[in-house]
C-alpha cells in the first residue's frame, strides 16, 4: 500500500507507485484498444519532422492551441480599471464564468462581472428583458458607480442593439437616467481580446467625452493596454511619471483592483480611474497608448475630439523606454530627470555585466502583437537573436512592422515572423528550427515539454507561477526584472547541462 499518514503522496508521486503503474498498464493493455507503443513513437517522431511541418503549416481551417482569447475578456479587463465599475456582459452566462475564472487564475485575485443570463427564449425574442431586469439587479446588489456593458457572441449573432436596450432600460428605471452605462459591442468572431479592450475603452470614453465641451489643456492621458503585468507595470509607470513630475491620467488603471490586500475585507472595487478624471481627461493635450494594437479605435476617437496621440508597442527594454520618456518630455516640456538617467545607466550596467551569457542566444517569442514586438526588440538589445516571432492575433500590418524592426538590427537577421499562426504551428517550427529559449505564457509549457526548450513566462496568462505580475516589466526597472528572468533560465540550463564545467562563479 503506497499511502501512509506520515508521508502522504498526492497525484505527483502516488501514481508512480508500482500498484498504480500495474493497474494503468493493465487498463491500457486490456481495455483501451490503444495504439501499440512502437506506432505511437513512430508517429511522434513524424510530428517533429519537416514533412509534418509542411502539412501543419498548410492547414487553413482548424486552429490548434491558439494564443488568443475573445473580445469580451479584454472589455471586462478594461472596465475593471475604472472606479467602482461593474462589467455587465450581455448574452449567455457561461462566457462570463469563463472570463472571471481566467482573470482570477492569472492574478490570483477576485474578478467580478455579471451576465444578463440569456437563454433559449432570449435567442428567439432578443435579450431586452434580460437587460432591463439585469441592470436593475446589478445596480441594487453591487452599488456600482458605472456599469460597462459588453456582449458575448450570442447577443451579437441575434443582433441585440445595446444602445437602444440601454435607453429602454433607463426608461424602465433599471438605473437612474443619468447613471453612466457605457457599452461596446464585442463580437468574439472578430479580432481578439485586444480588440475588446479597445472597443470598451472607446465605449467608456465616448460616454463621457461625446458632446462634452473641450477646453484644450496641458494634461496627458495614458492607455496602458491589455497587460497581464498591469499591476506592476501601472505602478512603475506612475512612479516614473512622478519622478518626472508629469501629471497624467491613466485611462483604466487596474493596478489596485487586481492587487487588493488581505486584511479581512473583500473589496469588489478598489482604486481605478474616477469619472471626474475621465471627464477632465477630455481636455488633455494628448492621449498616449502604450500598446497600439489595444487602442487603435480609441486613439482615433481621441484624435477626433482634438487631442494629439502617440502609440507605442509595450515600453519594455532600453530604447522603448527611452522613446516613451522622450515623448512625455516633448509633450509636457518637462526634462527627463537625472534619476531616470541613472536608472537607465544601472540597467545598461547589468546588461553589460551579463552580456557574455546573453549574446547570441536564440529565442522563439509569442504573445499579443505589442508584447512580441517589445520582447523581440529587448532581446536584440541584449545581443540575443529572435528566431521566431508569433502572434495568433497579429495581422499583415503587424508582420510588416515586425519585419522592419528585425531589419533594423543585425541580431534580427534570419528571424521569421508568424502572423496568425497558433502554438501547434509553433511546435512544428521549434521541432524543425529550434531556438535556445521560448518566451510566452503558461500555455507554452506544452512546447517546453514537447520540444525541450526552456520556457520563460513573461506574458498573460500565467497560471502556473505565482506573483510575477506584481513586478513590473515596463521601464528600466522592469527591463531589469525581465533581464534577470532571462538570465536565471540561462544559468539554470547551463548548470543542469554541465558536468565538468559545473562552475561556482559564472
Amino acid at each position: 500500500m503506497p499511502q501512509s499518514a506520515e508521508k502522504i503522496l498526492d497525484h505527483k508521486d502516488l501514481f508512480k507507485e508500482p500498484e498504480y503503474q500495474a493497474m494503468l498498464e493493465k487498463k491500457r493493455a486490456t481495455y483501451e484498444n490503444a495504439t501499440p507503443a512502437e506506432k505511437v513513437a513512430e508517429v511522434e517522431d513524424w510530428t517533429k519532422s519537416w514533412d509534418y511541418r509542411e502539412k501543419n503549416l498548410a492547414r487553413s481551417c482548424v486552429t490548434i492551441n491558439p494564443a488568443k482569447a475573445c473580445q469580451p475578456l479584454g472589455a471586462v479587463f478594461a472596465a475593471a480599471g475604472y472606479d467602482s465599475t461593474m462589467s455587465f456582459v450581455h448574452g449567455s452566462q457561461g462566457c462570463v464564468a469563463y472570463y472571471r475564472s481566467h482573470l482570477a487564475r492569472h492574478f490570483k485575485e477576485p474578478s467580478s462581472a455579471v451576465s444578463s443570463s440569456m437563454t433559449e427564449d432570449a435567442a428567439v425574442f432578443g435579450g431586452l428583458n434580460n437587460m432591463i431586469e439585469g441592470l436593475a439587479n446589478t445596480y441594487a446588489l453591487y452599488s456600482p458607480k458605472m456599469i460597462a456593458v459588453s456582449t458575448t457572441c450570442m447577443a451579437e449573432v441575434i443582433g441585440d442593439d445595446l444602445n437602444s436596450f440601454i435607453i429602454k432600460s433607463k426608461e424602465k428605471e433599471s438605473v437612474p437616467a443619468d447613471f453612466p452605462v457605457p457599452f461596446a459591442h464585442t463580437p468574439a468572431f472578430v479580432g481578439s481580446h485586444v480588440d475588446g479592450y479597445d472597443n470598451m475603452q472607446k465605449g467608456i470614453l465616448s460616454t463621457f467625452w461625446k458632446d462634452a465641451p473641450r477646453t484644450a489643456g496641458e494634461g496627458i492621458n495614458i492607455i496602458p493596454g491589455f497587460d497581464g503585468y498591469a499591476v506592476g507595470n501601472i505602478r512603475e509607470l506612475k512612479r516614473m511619471l512622478g519622478v518626472m513630475g508629469v501629471e497624467a491620467t491613466i485611462l483604466s488603471d487596474v493596478s489596485d483592483v487586481y492587487d487588493t490586500p488581505s486584511d479581512g475585507e473583500f473589496r469588489m472595487y478598489a482604486g481605478g480611474t474616477t469619472q471626474d478624471e475621465i471627464k477632465a481627461a477630455l481636455n488633455a493635450k494628448a492621449t498616449i497608448s502604450l500598446q497600439e494594437y489595444c487602442s487603435r479605435k480609441t486613439l482615433a476617437f481621441a484624435e477626433e475630439v482634438g487631442q494629439q496621440t502617440a502609440a507605442f508597442h509595450y515600453p519594455m527594454g532600453v530604447q522603448a523606454t527611452d522613446e516613451l520618456l522622450m515623448k512625455l518630455s516633448e509633450l509636457t516640456g518637462k526634462e527627463i530627470p537625472e534619476q531616470l538617467r541613472l536608472e537607465r545607466g544601472r540597467l545598461i550596467d547589468a546588461m553589460a555585466d551579463s552580456q557574455a551569457y546573453l549574446h547570441g542566444k536564440t529565442y522563439a517569442i509569442y504573445g499579443d502583437p505589442d508584447f512580441v514586438y517589445a520582447m523581440a526588440r529587448f532581446v536584440m538589445e541584449t545581443g540575443g537573436e529572435p528566431k521566431h516571432c508569433l502572434a495568433t492575433n497579429g495581422g499583415k500590418d503587424w508582420e510588416e512592422k515586425m519585419k522592419a524592426l528585425l531589419a533594423s538590427s543585425p541580431f534580427g537577421e534570419g528571424c521569421q515572423v508568424w502572423a496568425g499562426k497558433d502554438l501547434w504551428h509553433l511546435r512544428s517550427i521549434l521541432a524543425t528550427e529550434p531556438a535556445d529559449l521560448l518566451i510566452g505564457n503558461s500555455y507554452g509549457k506544452y512546447l517546453e515539454r514537447d520540444c525541450n526548450v526552456p520556457l520563460i513566462r513573461l506574458t498573460f496568462p500565467i497560471f502556473d507561477r505565482h506573483h510575477h505580475h506584481r513586478f513590473p516589466t515596463f521601464g528600466y526597472q522592469g527591463a531589469l526584472n525581465v533581464l534577470v528572468k532571462l538570465l536565471d533560465t540561462i544559468f539554470d540550463k547551463l548548470d543542469t547541462e554541465s558536468d565538468i564545467s559545473f562552475d561556482l562563479t559564472r
Binding site: Q3, I8, D10, H11, L14, M23, K27, Y31, N33, T35, V40, V43, E44, K55, R59, C61, T63, P66, K68, A69, C70, Q71, G91, Q93, G94, A97, Y99, R100, H102, A104, R105, P110, S111, V114, S115, M118, T119, E120, A123, N130, M131, G134, A136, N137, T138, A140, L141, C153, V157, I158, A188, F189, S192, S262, D263, G264, E265, W424, Y443, D450
Partner: protein, 493 residues
C-alpha cells in the same frame, strides 16, 4: 441538541431574509425560492436526516446577479466529452470558450499528448465574421480532414457547439455523417450551445444523449465480440480530476471486479463502446451521467447503482453495497480491503482529527460534491453549516438529506452577493467552492479550498485520496497566514 438545531434554523432563516432585502422585488421573489434551511423530516426514514428539497432548482438564473454557473458547452465539452482522451474535441465556433476551458479541469490521463491522446489541447474552428454570415459547415468539414491528417492516431472527433452554431442554422449532423464515411472514424456532433438550458446541466444531458445516439446505438464498435466476465463493471461519472478515477479503480480491482470502462476520465472511445457489456454500472456523479445509466438499463439491461468514494465511512459503505451485488467471494474481498485500509484511516484520523475537529465548513459546488463530500468532512470531525449546488435538480436535493442535518443553510444557484453575505455572517472555518469564490473568501480571512479542481491537488477519491483530502483541509485551515491579517498597531476593537 434540538435547541441548537432550532437556533441555527432560526438564525439562518433570518439571515436569508436579510440577504434578500437587498434585491429589487421581482428578483427577490425569484431568489427566495432558492434559499432555505434543511427541514425536519415529517416522519423518520432510515438513513435520512433532513428534508432539503424544499428549494427550487434547475431554473434560469436571475440576470445581473453574478451567478457562478457556466453553460451547456461547459457541461458537455468541459465535463463529459473533453476527458475522452483518444478523440479530438472541436470547440466549434469562436475562439473564446475553448480557450478559457483549455486544460482547466485536470482530467488526468496517460498517453502521448498530440500523438495518441489529446485532452490538454484546444482545438477550435475559430469562427470569423464570414463563418457567422455564410455558415461554418464547410469550414468544419475541412477542419475534420486537417485534424485527421495531422493526428492519424485519433479514434474519433467530437463537435462541441458554441453559442453561434444553433443560431446560424448550421447542420453539423449532416457534416458528421458525411465525414464519418470519408475518414472512417467516429464523429459525434453535440449541440451544447451555451444558451441552451440554464446551466452546465443541460450540457451533461445533451452530451449523454449523443453518447447514446452516436456511439452506443450507432454500431457495436469495440463491444463486438467482447465476452463479458461476471465481474465486469463500469465506473460512470468520474472525470479523473487529479486522478480520482484511478484511486477508485484500484479499490474496485482489489475487491475482484474488472473495470472495463471509465467514463470519462482517462477514457478511450473503445471503453465507451464496450460499456454496455458490463454487469453493473457504478455511478459516482449522478447529476452528470444518470441519463446514460438509465438508457443502458433500459436498452442493454445493465443495472446501475450510486456509490460514494469520499471519506472512509462512505467508502466502506459503498464497497459493501457494491459487493452485495456480487457473490460471497467479492463480499469477503470487500471486507478484507476495508480491513486492510483501516490502519491508514486510523493513522490519518489520529494525525488530523485533533487539528480539524469541530471546524465549520460551507460548501458551494456543482451537482454532486455539495452532498457527496459531506461525510468525508464528518470523518474528520468537521461540521457542515451550509451547502448548495450550481446546477443540481430536485433529485439531488432529495439525496442531500441523507447527509445534511436539519437547520443547515441551503442555497441553490447562489449569487455572488448572497454567498458573500452568508460567509460574512456565518464566518465558517473553511469554504469549499470554485476559483471565482476563492480569493474573495480568502480576503475575508477565511480559509478556502477549491472543490472543483481540488485546488490543483488530489486525488480525493478512495482511501489514498482521503489521506490527501485530510492533509489539504488541514493545511488550508491551519496555515499561520490567517493569524496575520490585522496589523498589530491596529488591533481590532
Amino acid at each position: 441538541m434540538a435547541k441548537d438545531i432550532a437556533d441555527s434554523a432560526e438564525a439562518n432563516l433570518k439571515l436569508i431574509e436579510e440577504v434578500l432585502a437587498a434585491y429589487p422585488d421581482k428578483a427577490k421573489k425569484k431568489r427566495a425560492k432558492h434559499l432555505a434551511v434543511a427541514q425536519p423530516l415529517t416522519e423518520a426514514e432510515p438513513g435520512i436526516q433532513s428534508k432539503c428539497d424544499t428549494v427550487k432548482s434547475n431554473i434560469k438564473s436571475v440576470p445581473g446577479v453574478m451567478t457562478i454557473r457556466g453553460c451547456a458547452y461547459a457541461g458537455s465539452k468541459g465535463v463529459v466529452w473533453g476527458p475522452v482522451k483518444d478523440m479530438l474535441h472541436i470547440s466549434h465556433g469562436p475562439v473564446g470558450c475553448g480557450h478559457y476551458s483549455w486544460s482547466q479541469r485536470r482530467n488526468y490521463y496517460t498517453g502521448t499528448t498530440g500523438v495518441d491522446s489529446f485532452v490538454t489541447m484546444q482545438v477550435t474552428t475559430d469562427f470569423q465574421e464570414n463563418d457567422i454570415v455564410f455558415g461554418g459547415d464547410k469550414k468544419l468539414e475541412k477542419s475534420i480532414d486537417e485534424l485527421n491528417e495531422l493526428f492519424p492516431l485519433n479514434k474519433g472527433i467530437s463537435i462541441q457547439s458554441e453559442c453561434p452554431i444553433g443560431l446560424i442554422g448550421d447542420d453539423i449532423e449532416a457534416v458528421s455523417k458525411k465525414k464519418m464515411k470519408d475518414i472512417d472514424k467516429r464523429i459525434v456532433p453535440v449541440r451544447c450551445e451555451g444558451f441552451r438550458g440554464v446551466s452546465q446541466s443541460l450540457g451533461h444531458h445533451i452530451a449523454n444523449d449523443m453518447i447514446r445516439d452516436w456511439v452506443l446505438e450507432a454500431g457495436e464498435g469495440a463491444r463486438a465480440g467482447y465476452v463479458a466476465g461476471e465481474y465486469d463493471v463500469n465506473i460512470i461519472g468520474d472525470y479523473n480530476i487529479g486522478g480520482d478515477a484511478w484511486s477508485s479503480r484500484i479499490l474496485l480491482e482489489e475487491i475482484g471486479l474488472n473495470v472495463i470502462a471509465q467514463w470519462s476520465g482517462d477514457a478511450t472511445i473503445a471503453e465507451i463502446e464496450r460499456a454496455p457489456a458490463a454487469k453493473l454500472n457504478l455511478i459516482h456523479c449522478y447529476r452528470s451521467m444518470s441519463y446514460i445509466c438509465r438508457h443502458m438499463e433500459e436498452k442493454h439491461g445493465v443495472p446501475w447503482m450510486e456509490y460514494n468514494f469520499f471519506g472512509p465511512s462512505q467508502i466502506a459503505a459503498s464497497l459493501r453495497a457494491i459487493a452485495a451485488k456480487f457473490d460471497a467471494k467479492i463480499q469477503a474481498n470487500a471486507e478484507a480491503v476495508i480491513a486492510k485500509y483501516q490502519p491508514l484511516v486510523d493513522a490519518v484520523n489520529a494525525k488530523y482529527k485533533p487539528r480539524l475537529e469541530g471546524k465549520k465548513v460551507m460548501l458551494y459546488v456543482g451537482g454532486l460534491r455539495p452532498r457527496h463530500v459531506v461525510d468525508a468532512y464528518h470523518d474528520l470531525g468537521m461540521e457542515i453549516v451550509g451547502t448548495g449546488y450550481e446546477f443540481a435538480h430536485n433529485d439531488d436535493y432529495k439525496r442531500t438529506g441523507h447527509y445534511i442535518k436539519e437547520g443547515t443553510l441551503i442555497y441553490d444557484d447562489v449569487s455572488g452577493y448572497e454567498l458573500e453575505k452568508f460567509v460574512e455572517a456565518i464566518r465558517p472555518d473553511l469554504v469549499g467552492s470554485g476559483i471565482k469564490e476563492k480569493y474573495n473568501t480568502q480576503k475575508m480571512g477565511i480559509p478556502f479550498r477549491q472543490m472543483h479542481s481540488w485546488d490543483y491537488s488530489g486525488p480525493y477519491h478512495g482511501y489514498d485520496g482521503y489521506a490527501i483530502f485530510a492533509r489539504d483541509m488541514d493545511l488550508a485551515i491551519n496555515n499561520p497566514v490567517w493569524g496575520m491579517f490585522d496589523a498589530p498597531w491596529k488591533k481590532s476593537a
